[in-house]
Amino acid sequence: MERNIHDKQASWTLIFVAWLLATLSTLSSLFFSEVMDLVPCILCWYQRIFMFPLAIILLVGLFPLDKRVVNYALPLVLIGLMFAVYHCFLFFGFIPEALQPCSRGISCADDSMELFGFLPIPLLSLVSFLFILILLLKARTQA
Protein backbone atom coordinates (compact mmCIF):
# COMPACT_ATOMS: atom_id res chain seq x y z
CA MET A 1 0.00 0.00 0.00
CA GLU A 2 2.72 2.42 1.00
CA ARG A 3 4.74 1.55 -2.04
CA ASN A 4 1.71 2.23 -4.17
CA ILE A 5 1.36 5.75 -2.75
CA HIS A 6 5.05 6.34 -3.25
CA ASP A 7 4.81 5.22 -6.87
CA LYS A 8 1.86 7.47 -7.43
CA GLN A 9 3.75 10.41 -6.01
CA ALA A 10 6.74 9.67 -8.25
CA SER A 11 4.69 9.42 -11.45
CA TRP A 12 2.78 12.58 -10.55
CA THR A 13 6.07 14.44 -10.26
CA LEU A 14 7.39 13.02 -13.54
CA ILE A 15 4.25 13.93 -15.47
CA PHE A 16 4.17 17.32 -13.77
CA VAL A 17 7.72 18.13 -14.88
CA ALA A 18 6.92 16.91 -18.41
CA TRP A 19 3.90 19.23 -18.42
CA LEU A 20 6.06 22.12 -17.16
CA LEU A 21 8.48 21.54 -20.04
CA ALA A 22 5.70 21.32 -22.61
CA THR A 23 4.08 24.51 -21.31
CA LEU A 24 7.38 26.37 -21.22
CA SER A 25 8.10 25.29 -24.79
CA THR A 26 4.62 26.32 -25.89
CA LEU A 27 4.94 29.74 -24.28
CA SER A 28 8.44 30.28 -25.68
CA SER A 29 7.26 29.35 -29.13
CA LEU A 30 4.36 31.77 -28.80
CA PHE A 31 6.78 34.43 -27.58
CA PHE A 32 8.93 34.02 -30.69
CA SER A 33 6.00 34.29 -33.06
CA GLU A 34 3.61 36.71 -31.31
CA VAL A 35 5.96 39.04 -29.42
CA MET A 36 9.17 38.88 -31.43
CA ASP A 37 7.34 38.58 -34.76
CA LEU A 38 9.51 35.69 -35.96
CA VAL A 39 7.50 33.87 -38.60
CA PRO A 40 7.47 30.10 -37.90
CA CYS A 41 8.81 28.02 -40.77
CA ILE A 42 6.95 24.91 -41.89
CA LEU A 43 8.99 22.48 -39.81
CA CYS A 44 8.48 24.74 -36.80
CA TRP A 45 4.75 24.51 -37.41
CA TYR A 46 4.81 20.73 -37.35
CA GLN A 47 6.71 20.72 -34.08
CA ARG A 48 4.24 23.22 -32.62
CA ILE A 49 1.36 21.01 -33.70
CA PHE A 50 2.75 18.18 -31.58
CA MET A 51 3.99 20.32 -28.68
CA PHE A 52 0.97 22.55 -27.96
CA PRO A 53 -1.49 19.71 -27.20
CA LEU A 54 0.98 18.24 -24.69
CA ALA A 55 0.57 21.34 -22.54
CA ILE A 56 -3.16 20.57 -22.41
CA ILE A 57 -3.46 16.79 -22.18
CA LEU A 58 -0.68 16.35 -19.63
CA LEU A 59 -2.44 18.91 -17.47
CA VAL A 60 -5.72 17.00 -17.78
CA GLY A 61 -3.85 13.85 -16.72
CA LEU A 62 -2.67 15.57 -13.53
CA PHE A 63 -6.11 16.68 -12.34
CA PRO A 64 -6.51 14.04 -10.80
CA LEU A 65 -3.61 11.80 -11.67
CA ASP A 66 -4.44 9.47 -14.55
CA LYS A 67 -1.37 7.60 -15.69
CA ARG A 68 -2.98 6.55 -18.95
CA VAL A 69 -2.26 10.08 -20.13
CA VAL A 70 1.26 8.84 -20.86
CA ASN A 71 -0.12 6.52 -23.54
CA TYR A 72 -1.98 9.37 -25.18
CA ALA A 73 0.95 11.75 -24.97
CA LEU A 74 3.72 9.46 -26.20
CA PRO A 75 2.69 9.34 -29.88
CA LEU A 76 2.66 13.14 -29.97
CA VAL A 77 6.07 13.30 -28.34
CA LEU A 78 7.58 10.73 -30.69
CA ILE A 79 6.28 12.38 -33.86
CA GLY A 80 7.31 15.83 -32.61
CA LEU A 81 10.74 14.47 -31.77
CA MET A 82 11.17 13.11 -35.29
CA PHE A 83 10.40 16.52 -36.77
CA ALA A 84 12.82 18.15 -34.32
CA VAL A 85 15.60 15.70 -35.25
CA TYR A 86 15.01 16.30 -38.94
CA HIS A 87 14.94 20.05 -38.39
CA CYS A 88 18.22 19.98 -36.47
CA PHE A 89 19.88 17.89 -39.18
CA LEU A 90 18.75 20.48 -41.67
CA PHE A 91 19.81 23.39 -39.52
CA PHE A 92 23.30 22.06 -38.84
CA GLY A 93 23.76 21.13 -42.48
CA PHE A 94 23.71 17.32 -42.28
CA ILE A 95 20.95 17.41 -44.86
CA PRO A 96 21.57 19.73 -47.83
CA GLU A 97 19.31 22.75 -48.00
CA ALA A 98 18.06 21.81 -51.43
CA LEU A 99 16.30 18.80 -49.97
CA GLN A 100 14.30 20.78 -47.48
CA PRO A 101 10.54 20.84 -47.93
CA CYS A 102 10.10 24.54 -47.21
CA SER A 103 11.39 26.32 -50.26
CA ARG A 104 8.62 28.93 -50.16
CA GLY A 105 8.30 31.40 -47.35
CA ILE A 106 10.70 31.21 -44.43
CA SER A 107 13.78 29.05 -44.73
CA CYS A 108 14.02 26.33 -42.10
CA ALA A 109 17.79 26.77 -41.86
CA ASP A 110 17.71 30.52 -41.50
CA ASP A 111 19.94 32.47 -39.13
CA SER A 112 16.90 34.12 -37.57
CA MET A 113 16.36 30.81 -35.79
CA GLU A 114 19.26 31.49 -33.50
CA LEU A 115 18.19 32.96 -30.22
CA PHE A 116 20.58 35.54 -28.73
CA GLY A 117 22.84 34.72 -31.64
CA PHE A 118 23.85 31.23 -30.51
CA LEU A 119 20.87 29.15 -29.32
CA PRO A 120 19.15 27.55 -32.32
CA ILE A 121 15.39 27.21 -31.81
CA PRO A 122 15.28 23.72 -33.45
CA LEU A 123 17.80 22.52 -30.88
CA LEU A 124 15.65 23.88 -28.03
CA SER A 125 12.72 21.98 -29.48
CA LEU A 126 14.76 18.78 -29.78
CA VAL A 127 15.98 18.99 -26.18
CA SER A 128 12.48 19.69 -24.93
CA PHE A 129 10.87 16.76 -26.81
CA LEU A 130 13.70 14.49 -25.69
CA PHE A 131 13.32 15.35 -22.00
CA ILE A 132 9.54 15.00 -22.15
CA LEU A 133 10.00 11.58 -23.76
CA ILE A 134 12.38 10.41 -21.04
CA LEU A 135 10.13 11.69 -18.25
CA LEU A 136 7.03 10.04 -19.69
CA LEU A 137 8.80 6.73 -20.31
CA LYS A 138 10.00 6.84 -16.72
CA ALA A 139 6.46 7.54 -15.50
CA ARG A 140 5.25 4.54 -17.51
CA THR A 141 7.64 2.14 -15.82
CA GLN A 142 6.56 3.40 -12.37
CA ALA A 143 3.41 1.31 -12.51
Binding site: F16, T23, F31, V35, D37
Partner: protein, 216 residues
Protein backbone atom coordinates in the same frame (compact mmCIF):
# COMPACT_ATOMS: atom_id res chain seq x y z
CA UNK B 1 1.59 22.34 -0.55
CA UNK B 2 -1.22 20.51 -2.31
CA UNK B 3 -0.66 19.28 -5.84
CA UNK B 4 -3.41 21.45 -7.23
CA UNK B 5 -1.85 24.49 -5.66
CA UNK B 6 1.51 23.61 -7.18
CA UNK B 7 -0.04 23.48 -10.64
CA UNK B 8 -1.91 26.74 -10.19
CA UNK B 9 1.24 28.41 -8.87
CA UNK B 10 3.16 27.12 -11.90
CA UNK B 11 0.54 28.49 -14.30
CA UNK B 12 0.50 31.88 -12.58
CA UNK B 13 4.30 32.14 -12.49
CA UNK B 14 4.70 31.15 -16.15
CA UNK B 15 1.97 33.60 -17.17
CA UNK B 16 3.65 36.38 -15.21
CA UNK B 17 7.06 35.67 -16.72
CA UNK B 18 5.55 35.66 -20.19
CA UNK B 19 3.77 38.99 -19.69
CA UNK B 20 6.78 40.65 -18.12
CA UNK B 21 9.10 39.42 -20.86
CA UNK B 22 6.66 40.63 -23.51
CA UNK B 23 6.37 44.00 -21.78
CA UNK B 24 10.11 44.56 -21.57
CA UNK B 25 10.73 43.27 -25.08
CA UNK B 26 8.12 45.64 -26.50
CA UNK B 27 9.44 48.58 -24.50
CA UNK B 28 12.92 47.93 -25.84
CA UNK B 29 11.67 47.55 -29.40
CA UNK B 30 9.74 50.82 -29.16
CA UNK B 31 12.89 52.57 -28.05
CA UNK B 32 14.93 51.03 -30.87
CA UNK B 33 12.22 52.01 -33.35
CA UNK B 34 12.16 55.59 -32.08
CA UNK B 35 15.92 55.92 -32.36
CA UNK B 36 15.80 54.46 -35.84
CA UNK B 37 13.16 56.95 -36.97
CA UNK B 38 15.16 59.80 -35.47
CA UNK B 39 18.41 58.68 -37.07
CA UNK B 40 16.90 58.27 -40.52
CA UNK B 41 14.46 61.19 -40.35
CA UNK B 42 15.73 62.44 -43.71
CA UNK B 43 14.56 59.25 -45.38
CA UNK B 44 10.94 59.83 -44.36
CA UNK B 45 9.67 62.25 -46.99
CA UNK B 46 11.98 62.59 -49.99
CA UNK B 47 11.23 64.91 -52.85
CA UNK B 48 9.80 62.24 -55.15
CA UNK B 49 7.08 61.05 -52.75
CA UNK B 50 3.38 61.70 -53.39
CA UNK B 51 1.80 64.31 -51.14
CA UNK B 52 -1.71 65.27 -50.20
CA UNK B 53 -3.00 68.25 -48.26
CA UNK B 54 -1.64 71.69 -47.42
CA UNK B 55 2.17 71.80 -47.79
CA UNK B 56 2.24 74.44 -45.02
CA UNK B 57 0.61 72.12 -42.49
CA UNK B 58 2.73 71.53 -39.42
CA UNK B 59 1.62 67.95 -38.81
CA UNK B 60 2.83 65.49 -41.44
CA UNK B 61 1.71 61.89 -41.55
CA UNK B 62 4.01 59.60 -43.51
CA UNK B 63 2.34 56.35 -44.51
CA UNK B 64 4.15 53.36 -45.93
CA UNK B 65 1.45 51.44 -47.77
CA UNK B 66 0.79 48.56 -50.12
CA UNK B 67 -2.25 48.85 -52.42
CA UNK B 68 -2.84 45.11 -51.97
CA UNK B 69 -2.92 45.34 -48.17
CA UNK B 70 -6.32 44.99 -46.51
CA UNK B 71 -5.43 47.01 -43.42
CA UNK B 72 -4.15 49.85 -45.61
CA UNK B 73 -7.56 49.84 -47.25
CA UNK B 74 -9.24 50.09 -43.84
CA UNK B 75 -7.03 53.01 -42.78
CA UNK B 76 -7.44 54.89 -46.07
CA UNK B 77 -10.75 56.57 -45.10
CA UNK B 78 -9.42 57.21 -41.60
CA UNK B 79 -6.54 59.27 -42.99
CA UNK B 80 -8.84 61.00 -45.48
CA UNK B 81 -11.15 62.01 -42.64
CA UNK B 82 -8.22 63.47 -40.73
CA UNK B 83 -7.14 65.49 -43.77
CA UNK B 84 -10.69 66.72 -44.22
CA UNK B 85 -11.11 67.60 -40.57
CA UNK B 86 -7.82 69.55 -40.36
CA UNK B 87 -7.19 70.74 -43.93
CA UNK B 88 -4.72 73.46 -42.88
CA UNK B 89 -3.00 71.51 -40.14
CA UNK B 90 -2.34 67.99 -41.44
CA UNK B 91 -0.80 66.73 -44.65
CA UNK B 92 0.12 63.29 -45.90
CA UNK B 93 3.18 61.78 -47.56
CA UNK B 94 2.54 58.40 -49.20
CA UNK B 95 5.42 55.93 -49.51
CA UNK B 96 5.38 52.55 -51.20
CA UNK B 97 5.95 49.28 -49.38
CA UNK B 98 4.80 46.72 -51.96
CA UNK B 99 5.31 43.60 -49.84
CA UNK B 100 2.68 41.45 -51.57
CA UNK B 101 3.80 39.54 -54.66
CA UNK B 102 2.73 41.50 -57.73
CA UNK B 103 2.19 44.71 -55.79
CA UNK B 104 5.05 46.47 -57.55
CA UNK B 105 2.91 46.34 -60.71
CA UNK B 106 0.08 48.09 -58.88
CA UNK B 107 2.51 50.74 -57.65
CA UNK B 108 3.67 51.21 -61.25
CA UNK B 109 0.03 51.79 -62.24
CA UNK B 110 -0.26 54.40 -59.48
CA UNK B 111 2.90 56.19 -60.59
CA UNK B 112 1.66 56.18 -64.17
CA UNK B 113 -1.72 57.52 -63.04
CA UNK B 114 0.15 60.24 -61.20
CA UNK B 115 1.27 61.63 -64.56
CA UNK B 116 -2.39 62.22 -65.41
CA UNK B 117 -3.02 63.65 -61.90
CA UNK B 118 -5.16 60.61 -61.22
CA UNK B 119 -3.07 59.09 -58.42
CA UNK B 120 -5.60 59.43 -55.59
CA UNK B 121 -8.51 58.62 -57.84
CA UNK B 122 -6.89 55.37 -59.02
CA UNK B 123 -5.82 54.48 -55.48
CA UNK B 124 -9.44 54.89 -54.35
CA UNK B 125 -10.53 52.56 -57.15
CA UNK B 126 -7.84 50.04 -56.23
CA UNK B 127 -8.87 49.91 -52.60
CA UNK B 128 -12.55 49.72 -53.47
CA UNK B 129 -12.03 46.79 -55.84
CA UNK B 130 -9.22 45.16 -53.86
CA UNK B 131 -11.02 41.84 -53.36
CA UNK B 132 -11.33 41.41 -57.12
CA UNK B 133 -7.66 41.76 -58.01
CA UNK B 134 -5.96 40.45 -54.86
CA UNK B 135 -6.26 36.68 -55.03
CA UNK B 136 -4.67 34.59 -52.31
CA UNK B 137 -2.51 37.50 -51.15
CA UNK B 138 -1.23 38.01 -54.65
CA UNK B 139 -1.80 41.22 -56.56
CA UNK B 140 -3.02 40.59 -60.09
CA UNK B 141 -2.66 43.70 -62.27
CA UNK B 142 -4.31 41.96 -65.24
CA UNK B 143 -7.55 41.74 -63.32
CA UNK B 144 -7.43 45.45 -62.53
CA UNK B 145 -7.61 46.75 -66.10
CA UNK B 146 -11.20 45.63 -66.56
CA UNK B 147 -12.17 47.38 -63.33
CA UNK B 148 -10.44 50.62 -64.28
CA UNK B 149 -12.50 51.00 -67.47
CA UNK B 150 -15.21 53.62 -67.28
CA UNK B 151 -13.53 55.83 -64.68
CA UNK B 152 -12.26 58.41 -67.14
CA UNK B 153 -8.65 57.29 -66.83
CA UNK B 154 -6.50 56.97 -69.97
CA UNK B 155 -5.60 53.29 -69.62
CA UNK B 156 -3.46 53.12 -72.76
CA UNK B 157 -1.34 55.95 -71.49
CA UNK B 158 -1.01 54.29 -68.08
CA UNK B 159 0.15 51.05 -69.68
CA UNK B 160 2.71 53.00 -71.64
CA UNK B 161 3.87 55.20 -68.75
CA UNK B 162 4.26 52.33 -66.32
CA UNK B 163 7.14 50.95 -68.41
CA UNK B 164 9.23 53.95 -67.32
CA UNK B 165 12.40 52.69 -65.62
CA UNK B 166 12.21 55.57 -63.18
CA UNK B 167 9.26 53.86 -61.50
CA UNK B 168 11.36 50.83 -60.57
CA UNK B 169 13.92 53.22 -59.10
CA UNK B 170 11.25 54.93 -57.00
CA UNK B 171 10.04 51.56 -55.68
CA UNK B 172 13.59 50.54 -54.84
CA UNK B 173 14.19 53.83 -53.07
CA UNK B 174 11.00 53.50 -51.03
CA UNK B 175 11.79 49.92 -50.08
CA UNK B 176 15.32 50.92 -49.06
CA UNK B 177 14.03 53.83 -46.96
CA UNK B 178 11.44 51.54 -45.40
CA UNK B 179 14.18 49.15 -44.40
CA UNK B 180 16.22 51.96 -42.83
CA UNK B 181 13.17 53.07 -40.88
CA UNK B 182 12.27 49.55 -39.75
CA UNK B 183 9.10 49.25 -41.82
CA UNK B 184 8.23 45.55 -41.91
CA UNK B 185 4.44 45.70 -42.05
CA UNK B 186 1.86 47.81 -43.83
CA UNK B 187 0.54 50.28 -43.12
CA UNK B 188 3.31 51.89 -41.08
CA UNK B 189 2.70 55.44 -39.92
CA UNK B 190 5.04 58.18 -38.79
CA UNK B 191 3.55 61.41 -37.45
CA UNK B 192 6.05 64.27 -37.57
CA UNK B 193 8.76 61.63 -37.70
CA UNK B 194 7.48 59.68 -34.72
CA UNK B 195 6.47 56.03 -35.14
CA UNK B 196 3.41 54.58 -33.40
CA UNK B 197 4.27 52.91 -30.08
CA UNK B 198 2.08 50.01 -31.14
CA UNK B 199 -0.13 49.60 -34.17
CA UNK B 200 -3.76 50.60 -33.91
CA UNK B 201 -6.45 53.16 -34.69
CA UNK B 202 -6.46 54.61 -31.16
CA UNK B 203 -2.67 54.89 -31.09
CA UNK B 204 -2.63 56.73 -34.42
CA UNK B 205 -5.35 59.13 -33.30
CA UNK B 206 -3.66 59.94 -30.01
CA UNK B 207 -0.30 60.54 -31.69
CA UNK B 208 -1.95 62.86 -34.24
CA UNK B 209 -3.79 64.69 -31.44
CA UNK B 210 -0.63 65.18 -29.40
CA UNK B 211 1.22 66.52 -32.45
CA UNK B 212 -1.67 68.89 -33.23
CA UNK B 213 -1.59 70.20 -29.67
CA UNK B 214 2.18 70.57 -29.72
CA UNK B 215 2.18 72.57 -32.98
CA UNK B 216 -0.97 74.68 -32.83
Amino acid sequence: MKKNQIIIAAVVIMGLIFSLAAYFYNAEQTQIQNQRAEKHARSLAPFHAVRKGDPQAKVTIVEFFDPACGTCKEFHPVINDLLKKYPKKINLVARYAPFHPGSDQMVAILEAARKQSQFWNVLDIMYESQEFWVINHQANAERFWGILKGYGVDINRIQQDMQDTKIAEIIQKDLADGELLGVSKTPTFFVNGKPLSSFGYAQLMSLVQSELEANY
